[in-house]
């Protein structure tokens, strides 16, 4: 995905990208801290049809909703769907033996029955990490499984 960045002299910056379905969305970042969410016309890439001015907090709330909040929601839904399953978010500290090693090395699923479904890193969600995924300190590992299973994964990750 390409994010096109344009400077608006005297005002700030504009970032625009095109979604997979061909809609263009952008954000105008004012120097004052105001953010405008702009959505472009379907047929006319020059014109934005909607422009919503957001204050600092509002922009943060929106980012939150679009970012990590989504995963938590999805997991909550998963919880409701499957009785007896819990999700656990485990912080991988620098002390963990797996910081810098691959997900496959933990053999977490084999040893505990619980699955690592996502990793949150720098506010970015990496969904369904593959076995060759490399952990870093400060990663938040999202695990789904039974109570015992998720606890077991926590123990493994903390160096058990």
């Amino acid at each position: 995905m390409d994010v096109e960045r344009t400077s608006l002299p005297g005002i700030g910056l504009r970032h625009v990208f095109t979604t997979g379905r061909g809609r263009q969305i952008g954000v105008v970042s004012h120097r004052t801290g105001r953010r405008d969410l702009v959505i472009y016309d379907k047929d006319d890439p020059d014109t934005c049809v909607v422009s919503v001015a957001l204050a600092d907090e509002e922009a943060n709330a929106l980012a939150e909703l679009l970012g990590t909040g989504r995963v938590v929601e999805r997991l909550a839904e998963l919880n409701r769907q499957v009785e007896g399953l819990v999700t656990e978010q485990i912080l991988l500290t620098a002390a963990s033996p797996f910081a810098g090693r691959r997900l496959g090395d933990t053999r977490a699923r084999t040893r505990s029955g619980a699955s690592i479904v996502a990793v949150v890193r720098d506010g970015e969600v990496i969904a369904s990490p593959r076995p060759d995924f490399q952990f870093r300190a400060e990663d938040v590992v999202v695990v789904v499984g039974t109570d015992e299973g998720t606890a077991a994964v926590a123990t493994i990750l903390h160096g058990g």
Binding site: M1, D2, V3, E4, R5, T6, S7, L8, P9, G10, I11, G12, L13, R14, H15, V16, T18, G22, Q24, G26, V28, S29, R31, T32, G33, D36, V38, Y40, D41, D43, D44, P45, D46, T47, C48, V50, S51, A63, G67, D122, G123, E124, V125
Partner: protein, 427 residues
């Protein structure tokens, strides 16, 4: 008793401005034309002539011009200015030639002489960046693809002003060719020096201005600005340009704070300046020039539409955006009056003041209305957007040179990994 009269008059003027400002906000128009009208009403030959507070108002007007240009300089970083010169010079020059031409032509046809022609050319040339930026923000046009082109034109115009004002001051002072050339040399050297300091040693300026509290910062910045403006005036460069350059030399978070601190002062004194200009314009002089002013206003709308069209076309924008760009550029306001004020105070043709007042009144009101009406007009005429693929667009941005103390974006498109929000450079 005299002091009491002064206070009463001042209070009445400022209160009247406040009430007019409320009206302007209510109808979301620019208050500038209303301030001018207030000045016309209170001035010589108006309905309610004021005389006692003359001195204060004239000094206030000077300060108003200085603060207007200072805050304008704060809007842009030196990097943006240089970057704009590199990328938008053709569009900017087209804008200059197209829009100055009607003013120059009218002054020559009326036989007002070459100096008046230069002044009137400036008056018809400059767009009110304040009104334009506000209108674009109000209409939600900031995200539009033609906006960077419009903003670049505004930057170019402000730069042109920095070169133009010293020339005008020299011409108005009736300087001989040699003296005029010397003045221009001094002005050019000063501008180059300040730009160099701002680009290479912006840190030094900021260290000097940096202050423990807002109060200290306000006093330092205001003092520095007035001092440099006064020195520039001494050197025959024009106080306004000195102030503009101080604004450019300040950038970063300091500039942001300074802008917030000085905005109320600027609003007050700028309002005083517009009133001052109105005070010195005799409303009785308006009717004879109305015809010429209307003619110039129509020409001014047409030429701005053309220059907006050209600039947006260079940026690869389709016809809807080109029309919008032109409409956004129509408003004239503060700087046209600044130019006219300079010319009038130096005793140029007495009809220039009323002409400029009428011209700005028309376009400060008509500009935003035209901008508001352009989208409905496009829909009514059924101007179809050309279905260009987003990927097929030509790039259009204002690169800022990446100096050592300048880790800002270089304006080039960049590919960013999804999910890592780019951090916009806060200037």
């Amino acid at each position: 008793m005299h002091a009491a009269t002064q206070l009463i008059e001042l209070g009445a003027i400022v209160l009247a401005l406040g009430l007019l400002g409320a009206v302007a906000v209510r109808f979301s128009i620019s208050p500038i034309p209303l301030y001018l009208v207030a000045g016309l009403a209170f001035g010589s030959g108006g309905i309610l002539p004021f005389g006692a507070s003359e001195e204060f108002v004239s000094l206030g007007a000077e300060v108003g011009v200085i603060l207007l240009l200072f805050t304008l300089g704060l809007e842009y970083t030196a990097g943006e200015l240089v970057g704009t010169l590199r990328t938008s010079a053709p569009a900017g020059l087209a804008d200059l030639v197209l829009n100055a031409a009607p003013g120059v032509a009218v002054a020559l046809i009326l036989d007002w002489g070459p100096v008046a022609a230069v002044a009137l050319g400036g008056i018809t040339y400059v767009t009110s960046s304040g009104i334009t930026a506000k209108v674009m923000g109000d209409l939600g046009w900031l995200g539009n693809r033609e906006t960077p082109a419009v903003l670049s034109i505004l930057v170019f115009e402000d730069l042109a002003m920095a070169a133009y004002l010293p020339i005008l001051t020299a011409l108005l002072a009736g300087a001989s060719l040699v003296a005029g050339a010397t003045t221009l040399g001094i002005a050019a050297a000063t501008i180059t020096l300040i730009l160099f300091i701002a680009l290479r040693h912006g840190r030094l300026v900021e260290r000097f201005v940096a202050s423990p509290t807002d109060e200290v910062l306000l006093l330092k910045v205001l003092g520095l600005t007035l001092l440099v403006a006064g020195l520039a005036q001494q050197l025959q460069v024009s106080a306004a340009v000195g102030a503009f350059l101080v604004g450019i030399a300040l950038s970063g978070p300091l500039a942001h704070t300074a802008r917030e601190l000085l905005a109320p002062l600027r609003d007050l004194f700028a309002a005083v300046f517009f009133v001052f200009f109105g005070l010195h314009t005799d409303p009785g002089q308006l009717p004879p020039v109305l015809g010429v002013a209307a003619l110039l206003a129509v020409a001014g709308i047409a030429t701005k539409l053309a220059s907006g069209w050209l600039a947006a076309r260079r940026a690869g924008v389709a016809s809807r955006g080109r029309l919008r760009a032109g409409a956004a550029l129509v408003p004239r306001g503060e700087f046209n009056i600044v130019i006219a004020g300079l010319a009038v105070s130096d005793g140029i043709n007495p009809r220039l003041g009323p002409l400029a007042a009428a011209y700005v009144l028309m376009l400060a009101i008509a500009g935003p209305l035209i901008a508001r009406g352009v989208e409905p007009f496009i829909r009514w005429r059924g101007i179809r957007p050309s279905r260009t693929r987003p990927g097929a667009r030509r790039k259009q941005e204002v690169p800022a040179p990446a100096g050592p103390a300048d880790s800002r974006e270089d304006g080039r498109d960049e590919v960013e990994r999804p999910g890592r929000p780019p951090v916009p450079g806060q200037h």
